[in-house]
Structure formats: C-alpha cells, structure tokens
Amino acid sequence: MTAKPTAPRASQPLGVGALLLWLGGAATAFLVLFWLITLILRQMPDPISPRADLFVEGARMTLQLTLVAGVIGLIVGVVAGIQKTSGLWWVRAPASVFIWLVRGTPLLVQILFVYNALPPLLKSIGLDVQLNEFWSAVIALALNVGAYNAEVIRAGILAVPRGQTEAARSLGLSGPKTMTSVILPQALRIVVPPLVNNLVALLKDSSLASTIALLELSLAGSRVSAETFMPIPVLTTIAAVYLALTTVMTFFTDQLERRLKIASR
C-alpha cells in the first residue's frame, strides 16, 4: 500500500473535517476569550470589578446575537442575491423590493418596528406570534445584514466570467446545476472579504438592540454607568471588549479566507 500523493493544499477544496476543526477552534477561542475577559475585569478598579459578570453576560449576548443573525442573514443574502441575478422579472421583483425597503430605512427603526409594531400587526391578521427581545433583535438584524449580503453575493455572481456559464451549459449541465456546482463555489470565494465586513459591522450594530431592553454589552455598560456616574471607565471597558470580540472573529475569518483560496492567485 503506497499513500496517494497529496495535491498541494491551496488547490484542495475545504473538507468537512477541516471545517469542523475550524468551527471547533473558533468556539474554543471564544470560550478562552470569555474566561480571559472575566479574569481581567475582576482585577479592574471599582466600577468595573464588582460588575464584571454583567459585562461578560452582555458580551455573550452580543456574540450570540451576531452568530444567529449572521447565519440567517447569510441564507437570506444567498437566496435574495441569486434571485436578483435571475432573468425572470417576477423572481427578481420580491428580492429588489426587500433590498429597497431594508437598505432605505435605518436599522434602529427596523429593530423598534419588529419589536413594537410587528406583533400587533400580525395579531390583526390572525397570527398570534410572541417575539421576545432576543428574537425581535435577531429578525431585524438578520434581515438587515441579509439585504447587504444579497448585493455582495450578486456582485460575486456577476464577477464569475460568462465563459464559465457557457462552458457548463454546453457540457449539458442544467441552469440550476450550473449555478450550484460551477458559479456559486467561485462566487462565494470572491465575496468572503465583503461578507466578513458585513459580519463585523453586524457585531457592532447589535448594540442597537439595547433600545429594546435586550441586555447586551452596550446596555450592560449603560446600566453600570447610570448607576455609578463613571462613564469613562465603563465606556473604555465596553469598547475594549467589542474590540476583543471583533479581533478574535476576524482572526478566524482570515483563516477561512486562506483555506478557501484557489491556486489561481
């Protein structure tokens, strides 16, 4: 038995094992980060140390919000992005209207709308949906980031040379098959950096969920600052925690980008 010669790493598609490893690594890194943050904040002077756990709880909520909304937003973005590139107007129209609405209104208004206006509106058409703070924020943030992702993914699809489609079609692949097996794999590689951009922006935008009393990092900060009248240490702390969260996140997305690189460049 001789081992098969392995191809160079760069041209290998990302296997399931590698992806799981990456996810596991990211999860471990965040657990370590939270442990570190707790440790450091407990050493801080007065307004911070007695309330260290409140900050960590807030940071955990911020991260949870970002991940859940980010995943849903990616799915929304892929679906709407593909719809936008369709040749049929009735497929394009719903995606265009959705993007027009979401990009044209402030996120703050969207969060308040989902929280305060959506349940009564749904009730009036006979749907009794109870959205708690967390899911209200997730829906608003996911739709918001989804609209931005859709435009990014559309740009990615358009960036794949036309020749690719023509070649796939002339080899007898159907339209949908061409999209899933030839165009999207290439398009998604192109759009990793702008998608990461949106994800980082989403983590910071999640602070707007403080307006609907969701105890995330920035609301944890305002509670402490309102209680102690010491805005400087509190604001410095929450800024530092946000920075730590985005730093760890971008470290892992950079890894992902490197793994997804094709041998072309």
Binding site: E133, I212, A213, L219, F229
Partner: protein
C-alpha cells in the same frame, strides 16, 4: 504638532473646568439648566417647546433670581454625568434623592414628593405581592429599577432607554407591568382611556434638583428661591395648574 499639543492642553483644561459658582452665574446673567424632556407632565417636549411642571418651576426660580435661562435636554442616564462634567449648572429632572446619587452630586430641598407606582393592564398585578413571577418594564438609571429589583420573587426587570419606550412595551403586552412615577402613571391611564390601570405605590420618594458636588453657593441660592416660591403662592399656582393639588412634601 504644536497645534495638537495646544488643543490637547485646552481640552484637558475644559475637562477640569470648575463648576460655576453663584458669583460666576450672576456675572454672566444666564443659568444653564438641564432636563430630560421625555417625562410628562414634569418635563416634556411638545413639538419644539420644552414644557412641564418642573420646567415652569425652574423658569420661575430663575426669574426670582434675576437670571435668563438656557435649557439643555439630555437622555436621563446622562444627566448627572453631564452635571459632573459641568456642562450645565443644575439639573431638574425628577431625580429622587438616593444614597448612591448623593455620592456624586448635591441635592436641594425637595421640590415635590411622589412614589413609584405599578401600572398594568386590567387584571394584571396591582401590588408588590402580585409581582411575584412577573416581568416589569422600567427606565434605565432610575430609582424604579433599583426598587423593582428588590421586590421578592420578581421574574425579570427589563430596562429601556426612555420611560415612553418602557410604556410602549407594556402596551404591546411584552411585560406584565410598568413601574414609574405615580403622576406619570395617572397621565398614562388618562391617555390610554381604560386600557391600563394604576396599582399600589411600590415606594415613596423625595424629588429634588441636583447641583455638582460641593457647589454650595448655588445650592444655597436655589434653596432660598424654592422656599420663596413656596411661600409667595408661585409654587401652589403651578402645582394646581398641573395636578389640581399641592404636590410639595408634607
């Protein structure tokens, strides 16, 4: 580079500016007062006009002191922080006197007495015992938050940036009750025409104006002006106009 250093120096000077004493204020002829402007009927923006019982009272006090007024509105949880940075001379925004706040600022004699009331939809919790296992909405940085937390067995206390947001949460059925000022509660019950009812008072509190810690000369003048307004009928007239009764502390 020199410019940068100069700017930084100027900024650090600004940051350590002393609170304006009574003499400084008198010399400038204008007093800077801060309030929230989202707390009817005490201080509320009606369109572009700041009005309410506390706003009228502060204007009357400034008039007695022979000063012009410059109003500043700020989010409630920022008011005392801004006062500590001397962005204005005093704050009148229905601050209850608490030990925690007294560490940061000095309070005048109380300009009215009130309490934290429970407001709920008909059939909801009407007293502290009924709040067991229930969720309430309050405004961040208020005494209602501290006191609601003390209720034994309460399930959750949600904090909102403004009282109006906390009330909206009650109206949308997101919480079982709202805890806030009893007079605001009366107004809310009136405005919502029977959709909500007012329950018991959770606690009583004395409400006063705040000046920066150690600004004794301004404190003295404000107390004197307040006492004068309470004895010459100005206070009674304003109080009757807003509440139909005299709300001073008995």
């Amino acid at each position: 580079m020199k410019k940068v250093v100069l700017t930084l120096a100027a900024l650090s000077l600004l940051a350590t500016a002393q609170a304006r004493t009574w003499t400084d204020i008198k010399k400038s002829g204008t007093i800077k007062i801060a309030t929230e402007g989202a707390f009817p009927p005490f201080n509320i923006m009606k369109g572009n006009v700041l009005t309410g019982f506390e706003v009228d009272l502060a204007n009357a006090l400034a008039k007695q002191l022979g000063l012009k007024v410059q109003w500043v509105t700020q989010p409630f949880d920022n008011l005392l922080i801004g006062l500590k940075q001397d962005r204005y001379d005093f704050v009148i925004a229905s601050h209850g006197i608490t030990a925690e706040r007294l560490k940061a600022v000095d309070f005048t004699n109380p300009h009215y007495c009130t309490g934290g009331a429970i407001v709920t939809k008909p059939g909801g919790p009407m007293n502290a015992a009924a709040l067991k296992g229930k969720t309430v909405a309050v405004q961040v940085g208020t005494t209602y938050l501290e006191n609601a937390r003390k209720v034994p067995g309460i399930k959750d206390v949600k904090t909102f940036p403004k009282d109006t947001d906390a009330q909206a949460a009650l109206m949308a059925g997101r919480v079982d009750a709202w805890v806030g000022d009893k007079f605001t509660g009366i107004d809310l019950v009136k405005a919502q025409k029977g959709k909500v009812v007012q329950g018991d008072l959770l606690f009583k509190e004395r409400i006063a104006m705040a000046v920066n810690k150690g600004n004794a000369s301004l404190l003295k003048e404000l107390n004197a002006a307040l006492a004068k307004s309470m004895s010459n009928g100005t206070y009674t007239k304003l109080s009757t106009q807003y509440f139909g009764t005299d709300v001073r502390c008995k």
